[in-house]
Amino acid sequence: MRLQSMKNALSSLWQTLFGHPVRAFGVVSLLLLISLAIAPAKNHFSEWRHYQKQYLALIQTRGDAVTLQRHFHEHDGIQQIWLPQLGVVDRCTTCHVGLKEASLADVSTQPFRRHPVIPHTLDQFGCVMCHRGQGPATTVEEAHSSTLAWEQPILPARYVQSSCGQCHRAPLTGTPQLNLGRNLLGRYGCVHCHTTKLPDGRAIQPTDDPPSLEHIADKTTREWIYAWLKDPQSYAVTATMPNFKLSDPDARDVSAFLIANSTPLAGDTAPDLNNQKAPDPTAGASLYGESFCSSCHAVQNAAGNVVGGDVGPELTRVGNKVKPEWLRAWLRNPRVYDAGTAMPHYRLTDPQVSLLTVFLRNKTDSDLLANVHLDTPTPEQIAHGKLLVTEYGCASCHEINGIKKPDNFAPELTRIGSKPLTQIIFLPGMTHAIPDYIAAKIRQPRSFGAALKMPQFSLAPAQVDALTTALLALTDRAHDLPMALTVPSKPPSNYQPAGKAGKLMDDMACFTCHTINGRGGDLAPDLTWEGSSVQRPWLEAFLKNPGTLRPALIRRMPRFNLSDDDAKELTDYIMTVYQTPEFDRDSMPASGYPPAQVEQGKQLFYSKYACQSCHIVDTKADKGYIGPTLTQVGSRLNAAWIYHWLKDPQAMRSGTIEPNRNMSDEDARALTAFLMTQKGSSKQEAKK
C-alpha cells in the first residue's frame, strides 16, 4: 500500500520534470549548469579569498592604501614561491599577504602581519624552510596542522632558531638559543650515549670530560658515591651528571662494585708533609684567591648563588668528597691521576698544597652523608652492581675497569629533527608533533616508561628548549642540502705545539683558557700571534709572575711557579713560532721617536681618539677600565704590533671589541710613538 503511494509520487515527479521533451531539456541544462558552478563557487568561497578580502578591507583605511593595494593587485590570486633547488613550493603568501609590507608593522592580527626583519628574503628561501608546515596547501588546516597525508605541522616560534641550524653550522649572533643547545649537547654529555652526526659527517663530541672511575677508591669513599648516585645535584647544584633514580639497594650495589673494581694508582696519594702545625685557614682562602681557582671552579654562597667559573667541578661540598691524601697529590700534580685534565699543574710548594688541602677539606655539608650507612658488601651485591653498571651504560661516559664502552647504547640522533611520527610512541594527551616529543623526552625521560634507562637530567626550562632546538636542526633537509648551500663551521683544530714547550703547555693546560691556531678555550686572549705582539723580556717575566693587565677582570691568569729554565723555554717557543705573516715585528723601533711626534701622539690619544675612555696611561688622571692598562705598554708590546693593531684591531685578533678607527698612517705612527714611551715607572720595575 505504502510502496504503491511512493511509486505514484515518484512517477508524478518524473512526469513533472521530464514529461515533456522541452521541459526535460530545460531541467537537464539546469542540472548541468549547477554542477558546472560547483568548482567556481568552491573557489569563490575558499579560505584564501576570504583572507584576501579581509586584507583589502584592512588596508583600505590606511594612509598608504593606494600603494598597498597596488602591491596586492600586482599579484592577486594564488601565490607561489618555487625554489626547485631547495625543494620549496610555498603558497603561504596567498593568505599572508602583508609579509613584505614594512608599513604594516603595527598590525598584529594574522595572517596580515609584516614579517620581522631577518637577513633572508622570502623569495630566496620561501617559508617552510624555517617554519615547516605544508607549503603547497591553500587551507589553514592543511598548511599549519598535521594531517593524514602530511605530518609536518608549523614549528612553534620557540623552536624557530632550529631552522637556521639546518644551513648554518657555526654559531650565529642572532641565534643564542640554537648556540646554547648545541653547546649543551656536548656539555651534558648527551652524545656519549646518542651518536649524533653533523651533516658534514663529523660526530658531535662531548665536552663534559667525565672522570675515569678506574682508580675511584683512591679519590673518594663509597658513602660519597652512594649519595652522589642517589642525587648528584644535592652534592653540587651545577652537576651535569643526571639522576638515574636508583633504588637504595641498587645505589648500594653500584657503589660497592665501583669501589671493589677500583685499582690503586701509584702516586695518586700523598702523605701530609706539613703535619706539625695546623695551617692558618685564612691563608688557605687567600691562596685559593691568588691562584684564581674561581676562574674555573664555582662555589655556592650562603645566598644560594653559584659564584665562579664552570670549567672545573663546583667545590661547594668538595670536603665531603675527596680523600685528603688524594687531594694533596692532585694539587701537587693533577696529571698523575688524569693525564688529560683541564686543570693546570700549578707547581705548588708542599706548604701551599697543605694550605689548600685544609681549606678545601673544610668545604663540607654535614647533611650530605649523615644518613648514609653502608655495610660491607657481599660478593652478590658487588656482582649485582656490575650488572647494573653494564645495564645503565655507565661506561658510555666513564672509564671503568673491565667494562667496555658500549656501542650505539642509545638511539642515534643524527636525523632526529625529521623522525617520522609513525615511529614515535606519544604519551596520551600529547600533541603529536616532533618538537613536543623531543622536549617531553628531555624533560622527563622516564615518563615514557618506568623501565627506560635514560636518566633524569637537571635542566632549566630554557635549557630544555635550547636542546630541543639544537636537535630539531638535525633534519633530513640539513643532511641532504648540497654543500654549496650551507654555511659550514670551522673544522675542529687538533693543533699541538711541539717539543719541550709543547709538553710544558700541556702541563699548564694553556689550551683550557687560550686559543692557539684554532684550538682552545675563550677565557683568555688568542695567542696565535703572541710572538709578534709582545717583547721578549716582558713575556718571560709575565710567565713567571703574571701581572694584572685588565684590572676589571675577575678571571685572571694564575701564577704557575715556573722555573727560570721552563719560562725561558716557553718564551723562546712563543717568540719564534707564534708570529703573524702580516708584518715583521722588528720593522719599527722600540724607542727614539722624535719628541714632536710623541707629543702629537699624546694629543691624539687624549683628544681626537679619546683612548682614555677605555685605557689608562696616567694612573692619576685616566680611569678607563675596559682595555688593558697601558702604563707600561712600551715595554710590553712591539711598536709594529701597536701600529698594525691601531690600523685594524680586528685583523690582528678577530672579535676584539676595540673599534676600528679608520686611522691615517700618520696618526697611527704618532700614537705608536707616544705609547712606546710608556715604559712603566722604574719603581714598579724595581719591586718585581
Binding site: S108, P116, A157, T173, G174, P176, A462, I554, N660, R661
Partner: protein, 235 residues
C-alpha cells in the same frame, strides 16, 4: 622601527581546568615578587620564572590563594594558575608570543569578597633583529652604557667624565631620530657635537648591525618609543 605594545586583551581566557583548584586562602592584593621587566626572545621561555605574591590587607603573605596568569595571544604560562605556597608565592614559567614587542601580563587573584585583585607585569620580547642588537650591546656598548656591574663585567660608567646614556633612558634617546643614532654610533660622539669619549663603530659594525642595535635600543626604551610617521586615520 616601530615598537609594538601588545596590551592584554582584557583577560578573556576562560579559566581552564586548573581553576578546579580550591583556594584555601584569600588575599587583598597580588604583587610582583620577581621576574618582571625581563628581556627575552619571541616565542621563548624567559630565563627567570615570574614570581608573584598574594598579600592580605595588612601586607602579610597569604598561602593557598588562587592566582591566575593571563596575557596577550601567544603567551604561555606553565602553570597558568595555581595556589600560593607557604610563603604566599606562586612561580610560573613564561613563554612570550611570536611577535617582538612589549607584553603586558596579568596575575590575578580573588579577594574574600570575590572581587578581583590583579597586578600588571611587563616583559619584552626581542625578535631576530633586536636579538642581534642585544648581543652587540652586550659585547660593545654595555660596558660603558650600562651603569650596572656584574661579576663578569665591571661597568666603566662611573669612570667616564661625560656620562653615557643608558639604552633604557627613553627620555633622552626617544628624542633622537634613527638618523642621529646611526650617526653617533657610526661616527662617534663628535658627529653630533657630543663627547669624543664615544668612539665611532662605523668601521667595526656593518650597516645591518647598526640597524639591529637601534632596533634593540628602541624596543627596550623606557618610556616606550613611538616611531614618528604617518598617523593613519582610525575608523
Amino acid at each position: 622601527m616601530v615598537t609594538l605594545v601588545l596590551v592584554s586583551a582584557g583577560c578573556t581566557r576562560k579559566p581552564g581546568p586548573a581553576s578546579a583548584l580550591k583556594p584555601t586562602g584569600f588575599g587583598a592584593a597580588v604583587v610582583e615578587s620577581s621576574g618582571g621587566k625581563q628581556v627575552g626572545a619571541t616565542g621563548m621561555v624567559l630565563t627567570q620564572p615570574l614570581v608573584v605574591q598574594v598579600n592580605d590587607d595588612q601586607g602579610a603573605a597569604v598561602a593557598g590563594a588562587l592566582v591566575e596568569f593571563s596575557g596577550p595571544a601567544g603567551v604561555g604560562f606553565d602553570p597558568p594558575s595555581g595556589l600560593t605556597d607557604s610563603s604566599g608565592q606562586l612561580s610560573t614559567n613564561v613563554a612570550l608570543g611570536g611577535m617582538a614587542g612589549r607584553y603586558q601580563l596579568t596575575a590575578r587573584t580573588n579577594t574574600k569578597a570575590q572581587k578581583a585583585a590583579d597586578v600588571k607585569i611587563e616583559e619584552i620580547a626581542l625578535g631576530y633583529q633586536e636579538q642581534v642588537g642585544f648581543q652587540l650591546d652586550n659585547k660593545y656598548c654595555a660596558r660603558c652604557h650600562n651603569p650596572e656591574s656584574t661579576a663578569e663585567r665591571v661597568s666603566n660608567y662611573d669612570n667616564l667624565e661625560v656620562k653615557p646614556h643608558p639604552f633604557t633612558e627613553g627620555d633622552t634617546l626617544n628624542k633622537m631620530t634613527d638618523a642621529e643614532l646611526t650617526a653617533i654610533i657610526g661616527h662617534g660622539g663628535p658627529a653630533l657635537n657630543k663627547s669624543a669619549l664615544m668612539p665611532p663603530y662605523g668601521y667595526t659594525l656593518s650597516k645591518t648591525e647598526i640597524e639591529a642595535l637601534i632596533a634593540y635600543i628602541r624596543l627596550i626604551s623606557d618610556p616606550p618609543y613611538h616611531a614618528p610617521g604617518t598617523v593613519y586615520a582610525q575608523k
